[in-house]
């Protein structure tokens, strides 16, 4: 890494003067430990997220290996439950959310013309407490009695009455993750409010910045509620309170209300920044302006507001009265209107554009198609009477993996391919990238599409065994799973090559149709950018 600036091709020489900034970058491990530079911290977040993605992925491989055949063969049911639980927690809090925060760190200051994040020291803290949170969570797997096995949703009384002592570790690690993302969110909000370059008015802000701003508000609104929920679980379990214990006057159903009051906005936390990313990539490779910029902003805001009044669609089967079922059904369906507006705008942007299919665009198009499939299965789940059949089956698993893997994660990959040349100054290995895309695309559908069928046929989720009739589909699903897991090593290889600064140097604009402040600074982006703010016309 320290050799990076030595090699300079003729093309690069043109930007040589910018690299002068680089010579006072501290070297070695202390650079990363004490850094307050938004680009360094962005890189840390992204690598951390990728490592967590591989760790959580390894757990998914255990799950799929066990489900390869009916019957119990590889792991015991308690360990299986720990795998589904920790897989979910790691992917949500360790992979998707930190990856978005990493992208925000890299991109938000560059997009609004700011020299750094508003609170650089807090930025350092909010990253560096994360590895400890996950060390604690992972170490809980080795505690006697095993780690958390109650599902990522930690419903009471599973997490209060029927859980092991490791629950304390789980609660503690969720607290740290929460603090980290709240600090990250505060940083994003303050940066966007106070650090925009002159002339960067609200309605000129790039959509990634808009979507992240709204996400950050969602984060500070609901992460504290999650912290409250885990705290109540902790005191119910260890200190004799009975928030969720009917015998002591509490109510276990209330747990679900509190959890999903956090949980549904949380799923939008994981998708709004993705909407922003896609809204950058599609116009670039369609060589057209984004269709309906203002409607995108309003759609994002209304999705965020509506996300607070739909939580009980996760609880249709808890015996709510009819009017509540109806209310949550229609409120949920209402959310698909602004979501539909977005999909419509992306398609309209591509309509009659001069399209080209570079790797980021491939991921973006896959996102649009596959996320829409996930949205449609969500709409099916929102229909109360049919949810009684689908609830807690693999149909739900299919739904949320379409929106989260081919949605959120594909958007993150699209973003990495789109902005990586700006970060490193070199074009990534396009052949490897295409292999990564096509292998992932095929395997991910083999992995998640048949889950719709087994779910409709009644296969329950979170069970290590299943009845014989599901055997064939499950084998295909597992094969898809292994293939998807392996495909990610192509990505790993590509990223390592990119960090070693291999590849053809790129221009400042990188992509022919790219627009925005980040494409006006040199490639690779110098360590310090916009120390004097640009003026936005």
């Amino acid at each position: 890494m320290s050799k990076a600036t030595d090699v300079m091709t003729p093309d690069d020489a043109a930007h040589g003067h910018d690299e002068h900034h680089d010579h006072h970058i501290p070297k070695g491990i202390t650079r990363w430990l004490f850094t307050t530079n938004h680009k360094d911290i962005g890189t840390l977040y992204l690598w951390f997220a990728f490592i967590m993605f591989l760790v959580g992925g390894a757990m998914a491989m255990v799950i799929r290996a066990e489900l390869f055949q009916p019957g119990l063969q590889i792991v015991d049911p308690n360990f299986f439950n720990q795998m589904t639980t920790v897989h979910g927690l790691i992917m949500v809090f360790g992979a998707v959310m930190p990856a978005f925060t990493g992208l925000a760190n890299w991109l938000v200051p560059m997009m609004i013309g700011a020299p750094d994040m508003a609170l650089p020291r807090m930025n350092n803290w909010s990253f560096w407490i994360l590895p400890f949170a996950f060390l604690i969570l992972l170490s809980s797997l080795f505690v006697e009695g095993g780690g958390p096995a109650f599902g990522w949703t930690f419903y009471a009384p599973l997490s209060t009455t029927y859980s092991g002592d490791s629950t304390a570790l789980f609660v503690f690690s969720v607290h740290i993750m929460g603090i980290s993302s709240i600090m990250g969110a505060i940083n994003v909000i303050v940066t966007i409010f106070n650090m925009r370059a002159p002339g960067m008015t609200w309605m000129k802000m790039p959509l990634f910045v808009w979507t992240w701003l709204i996400t950050a508000f969602l984060l500070i609104a609901v992460m504290p509620v999650l912290a409250g929920a885990v705290t109540m679980v902790l005191t119910d379990k260890f200190f004799g309170t009975s928030f969720f214990d009917a015998a002591g006057g509490g109510d276990p159903v209330m747990f679900q209300h509190i959890f999903w009051f956090f949980g549904h906005p949380e799923v939008y936390i994981m998708i709004l920044p993705a909407f922003g990313i896609i809204s950058h990539i599609v116009p670039t490779f369609a060589r057209k302006r984004l269709f309906g910029y203002a409607s995108m902003v309003y759609a994002t805001a209304s999705i965020a507001l509506l996300s607070f009044i739909v939580w009980a669609h996760h609880m249709f089967t808890t015996g709510m009265p009819l009017f509540a079922e109806m209310f949550f059904m229609f409120a949920t369906m209402l959310i698909s209107v602004p979501t539909g507006v977005k999909v419509f705008n992306w398609v309209a942007t591509m309509w009659r554009g001069s399209l080209s299919f570079e790797v980021p665009m491939l991921f973006a198009i896959a996102f649009i198609v596959l996320f829409t499939i996930g949205g449609l299965s969500g709409l099916m789940l929102a229909i109360t009477p049919v949810d009684f059949q689908y609830h807690d089956t693999y149909f739900v698993v299919a739904h949320f993996h379409y929106v989260l893997v081919t949605g959120a994660i594909f958007s993150i990959m699209a973003a990495v391919y789109y902005w990586l040349p700006k970060w490193t100054g070199k074009m990534f290995d396009v052949t490897l990238a295409k292999w990564h895309f096509w292998c992932s695309l095929i395997s991910v559908n083999l992995l998640f599409f048949p889950m719709h069928f087994v779910g409709l046929a009644g296969m329950p989720r979170r069970i290590p065994d299943y009845s014989l009739q599901f055997a064939d589909f499950n084998q295909w699903i597992s094969i898809g799973g292994f293939a998807f897991g392996l495909s990610q090593f192509i990505f790993l290889a590509l990223l390592i090559k990119a960090c070693k600064k291999e590849g053809e140097p790129v221009s400042d604009q990188v992509w022919e149709g790219a627009e925005g402040l980040e494409w006006e600074i040199p490639s690779p982006a110098p360590y310090h950018t916009f120390e004097t703010p640009p003026v936005v016309k």
């Binding site: 508003a118 609170l119 709240i182 505060i186 909000i189 303050v190 409010f193 106070n194 500070i220 609104a221 609901v222 992460m223 504290p224 509620v225 999650l226 912290a227 409250g228 929920a229 109540m232 004799g240 928030f243 009917a246 015998a247 002591g248 006057g249 109510d251 159903v253 209330m254 209300h257 509190i258 009051f261 015996g319 709510m320 009265p321 509540a324």
Partner: protein, 196 residues
């Protein structure tokens, strides 16, 4: 630059207030939930204090079937059953049903019964003038008891409800019981068997 720092600090302070407020809101949801369910009666919880039986007019024209189901929580060894599985009542009429419990374990156990009504909306119209669920119920090893429950159905019960179910779940609350004196159980029918 310092102006900018002040600006940042003010904004951070405001955001931190929101964060703390939302943390508090999470806890405020607990009483809010109870109040909300109390008013609307939507979670099937009944009142846990005795209702007075004022001279309510008995509505002979309606007949409501009330069903009783019993259940013990996991790990709770008591036998527990409703002596009356099902009664037909007129709204306004006072009825008494009885539940049998026995403690087969070798130690004292204190139980708490928690009622739940389905459909939930009926819970508001089930008025209990006397119920074993209002208090914790202690039994020593081998003891048994018949516990009464006296209720009437409010004549205001919505027209479309003809049938509802009352489920009692017995929880073992020995660990946190207020009163371990098993002799105090007013419904006890039998002294502990000797030699046990």
């Amino acid at each position: 630059m310092t102006q900018k720092n002040n600006q940042n600090r003010n904004m951070v302070l405001k955001l931190v207030v929101i964060v703390i407020g939302m943390f508090g809101f999470g806890f405020a949801l607990v009483p809010l939930y109870d109040v909300f369910c109390d008013i609307t009666g939507i979670n099937g919880k009944t009142r846990n204090s005795a209702a007075a039986y004022e001279a309510v007019e008995i509505d002979e024209s309606r007949e409501i079937t009330v069903e009783f189901i019993t259940r013990t929580n996991t790990g709770m060894p008591w036998e527990f059953r409703a002596e009356t599985k099902r009664v037909k009542v007129h709204p306004g009429e006072l009825n008494t049903v009885s539940f049998y419990v026995r403690n087969p374990a070798s130690g004292n156990i204190v139980a708490q019964a928690i009622p739940s009504v389905s459909p939930g909306l009926a819970a508001l119209y089930l008025n209990k003038t006397e119920c074993f669920c209002f208090n914790q119920q202690p039994l020593s090893a081998g003891q048994e008891a018949y516990m009464p429950m006296q209720f009437y159905v409010d004549p205001q019960l919505p027209e479309d409800i003809h049938y509802f179910t009352v489920q009692y779940t017995l929880y073992d609350v020995t660990a946190r019981a207020d009163d371990l004196d098993t002799q105090a159980n007013p419904f006890m029918t039998q002294q502990p068997e000797s030699g046990k």
